[in-house]
């Protein structure tokens, strides 16, 4: 049981990271980025190339994060321009359709150019025992990196002026504008940040399993569900929802069987959304 819970937490922290970038962009800009998983895949490809070119792991991972951020910036500067001109549901819908187009292009291109290419970072060494349960070094390192990333995100939003400015836009765009904050610039910042977070997904995920060029949609869909369960725009909600769903998933897989575990996870997500439509830690609209 302890083993299950630990495995669930490790997977859940990952899920939280998948959702973090998505939830920020949605909460701040009302933009649903369906190419989120594809940004992760592009970064994974960049990382794999960096390492093929002889870069050590750390600089290569840095390159991947840079690539993720640049892709986020690129989306903000190009196809999201017309999206920003719309409001409300029309805005969500257009962002969803346009980023879906981007996702197709990325998937199609990568499958054509690098079919079957996948990234896996092998973290050597034996298992480490935690509470008497042997855990893989790769999973632990991935979780540690993710938790550090979350800590950095939280402190950014809590302690820096810029982070507080971003939060003020999430809470009240008009009010933020009145005190001299430019929502458009904050949004650009968050798109870059979400790109970096997506790249971090690729880096940490590849320490646990291999990330192939087709992984994009799977990442996006799970990230979307975690985002909604956690509450749109809430990073801590994403982490909490990720951990809960991760534990549910692993325990269900152990008790009932692998295929039903996905069904249980989905049902858990559905029940949460229906009980609390604003999400676990979301703000009532």
């Amino acid at each position: 049981m302890i083993a299950n819970v630990l495995d669930g937490i490790v997977f859940g922290i990952q899920l939280g990271l998948w959702a973090a970038g998505l939830t920020l962009v949605y909460g701040l800009g009302g933009v649903l980025n369906l190419a989120h998983g594809q940004i992760a895949v592009i970064s994974a490809v960049a990382l794999a190339f960096g390492m093929d070119a002889g870069l050590p792991v750390l600089p290569a991972a840095g390159l991947a994060l840079l690539v993720g951020g640049v892709v986020g910036l690129f989306l903000d500067l190009t196809i999201l321009r017309p999206v920003y001109r719309l409001q409300g549901e029309a805005r969500v819908l257009l962002s969803l359709l346009l980023t879906l187009g981007v996702a197709f292009i990325v998937d199609g291109f990568l499958n054509w150019r690098y079919p079957g290419r996948s990234l896996s970072l092998f973290i050597g060494g034996g298992a480490i025992e935690i509470l008497g349960v042997p855990m893989r070094r790769g999973s632990l390192l991935a979780s540690a990196i993710t938790l550090v990333a979350f800590a950095a995100l939280f402190s950014f939003f809590r302690f820096t002026a810029l982070g507080r400015a971003v939060r003020s836009v999430i809470e009240d765009e008009e009010g933020a504008r009145l005190v001299g904050i430019d929502p458009a610039r904050m949004l650009r910042l968050i798109l870059v940040l979400s790109g970096v977070l997506a790249a971090l997904v690729a880096v940490t995920r590849s320490m646990v399993v291999s990330v192939d060029v087709q992984a994009g949609f799977g990442i996006t869909v799970l990230a979307l569900i975690v985002t909604v369960v956690g509450g749109l725009g809430s990073v801590s909600g994403a982490l909490l929802a990720g951990i809960i769903l991760g534990i549910v998933n692993v325990i269900a897989a152990d008790v009932i069987g692998t295929f039903m575990s996905l069904v249980i996870l989905l049902l858990a997500a559905a029940v949460t959304i229906l009980m609390r439509p604003s999400g676990l830690l979301g703000v009532e609209e």
Binding site: L32, I79, P82, E89, V92, L93, L94, L97, L98, L100, G101, V102, A103, F104, I105, V106, D107, G108, F109, N111, W112, P115, F217, V221, L224, I225, V228, F259, M260, L262, V263, L266, L267, A269, A270, I273, L274, P277
Partner: protein
């Protein structure tokens, strides 16, 4: 007004509706009816055409739910799949006649759609939340299709024995079966739009709160839309399954059905009567043309989707209608001079 008078007026109105509807529907039917004349040499192309019509049916069903009542049902494939798999299981495993199986499966799909809508309405979920809940339903359906392999054939798919030696498996008849289905769906949607139901739908699409205040039972009319649309999806899915003879999870997959249907409908024009047909025909042809691009097909498809929504965000039919209206207005204002 006397009882007879209102009844008479209703009749005249209904008759007028049918007349104004029948001209474009017959025109569309006539154009599509000649397609087999130049495709009948190729079984593959006829298969593509039948699939295109199935997608037209799906797009009409989705249009009733999303276009008319604003509920983003991301379970088009799953509802069609309930029809397809339900029909196949009822006919082959249970042993019911094909027509009965199709109708029962349609009923199941219809009730499922109604329940999803009931949940969304009860919890007053917005567009995005309805989308997420129905997406979760789709993923659950997919997981069950794969997991219950002994019943559904799992990843390998389901080979339907029933009706294998009947006309529905020949090369040409399936096309006309699906065409009739699509035209009937069009007429049903068109008549509903002209009835009091359509009046309520327009009101709740324009401004939900205002509609509620004006006495429109928004919840009820939303559920009506979901019931009708889901029944269309189930019927089309079941019928298509029997014409194909083999169905698999990808036949009704999210990426293979829902995404394509959304693109088709958004191209034609969400909420317009003929948008689904225009979108389905266009993208079926586009898809065939793109085969030349081989593996780059998905890239070109994505680029098309991007360009389309960047420059035609509202779809072809509404944009064209705007152009025509503008021209008329400018002509009218120029006329007095």
């Amino acid at each position: 007004m006397s009882e007879r008078g209102t009844a008479g007026a209703a009749w005249t109105r209904a008759a007028r509706s049918v007349r104004t509807l029948s001209i474009p529907v017959v025109a569309v039917g006539a154009v599509l009816a000649v397609v087999p004349l130049w495709l009948d040499h190729s079984g593959v192309l006829m298969g593509v055409a039948v699939l295109g019509l199935a997608f037209a049916c799906y797009a009409i069903g989705f249009n009733v739910i999303f276009g008319s009542t604003g509920q983003l049902f991301l379970c088009v494939g799953a509802l069609a799949g309930i029809g397809g798999y339900g029909g196949a299981i009822l006919a082959d495993t249970v042993g019911l006649p094909v027509v009965v199986s199709i109708l029962l499966a349609t009923l199941v799909s219809c009730v499922t759609g109604g329940l999803l809508s009931l949940i969304a309405v009860r919890r007053s979920l917005g567009v995005i939340f309805t989308g997420i809940i129905t997406l979760i339903f789709t993923l659950t359906f997919d997981a069950l299709l794969l997991g219950l392999g002994s019943l559904t054939g799992g990843e390998n798919g389901f080979l339907i024995e029933s009706g294998a030696d009947s006309f529905i498996r020949r090369r040409i008849p399936p096309y006309y079966v699906m065409l009739v289905l699509a035209l009937v769906f069009l007429v049903v949607h068109g008549l509903l739009r002209r009835s009091h139901v359509g009046w309520a739908w327009r009101a709740l699409r324009d401004d939900e709160l205002a509609a509620e205040l004006a006495g429109v039972d928004v919840a009820r009319y939303r559920i009506y839309g979901a019931l009708v649309g889901a029944a269309m999806l189930g019927l089309a899915g079941a019928t298509y399954a029997f014409t194909e003879g083999r169905i698999s999870p990808t036949t009704f997959g999210f990426a293979q059905v829902d995404v394509v249907v959304i693109v088709m409908l958004a191209f034609g024009g969400i909420g317009t009567l003929f948008g689904p047909i225009l979108g389905a025909v266009t993208f079926t042809i586009v898809d065939e043309v793109l085969i030349e691009f081989g593996q780059l097909r998905l890239v070109v498809y994505g680029a098309l989707v991007l360009l389309l929504f960047l420059f035609l965000a509202r779809g072809v039919i509404p944009t064209a209608r705007d152009v025509v209206t503008k021209r008329r207005v400018s002509q009218a204002s120029a006329a007095p001079d």
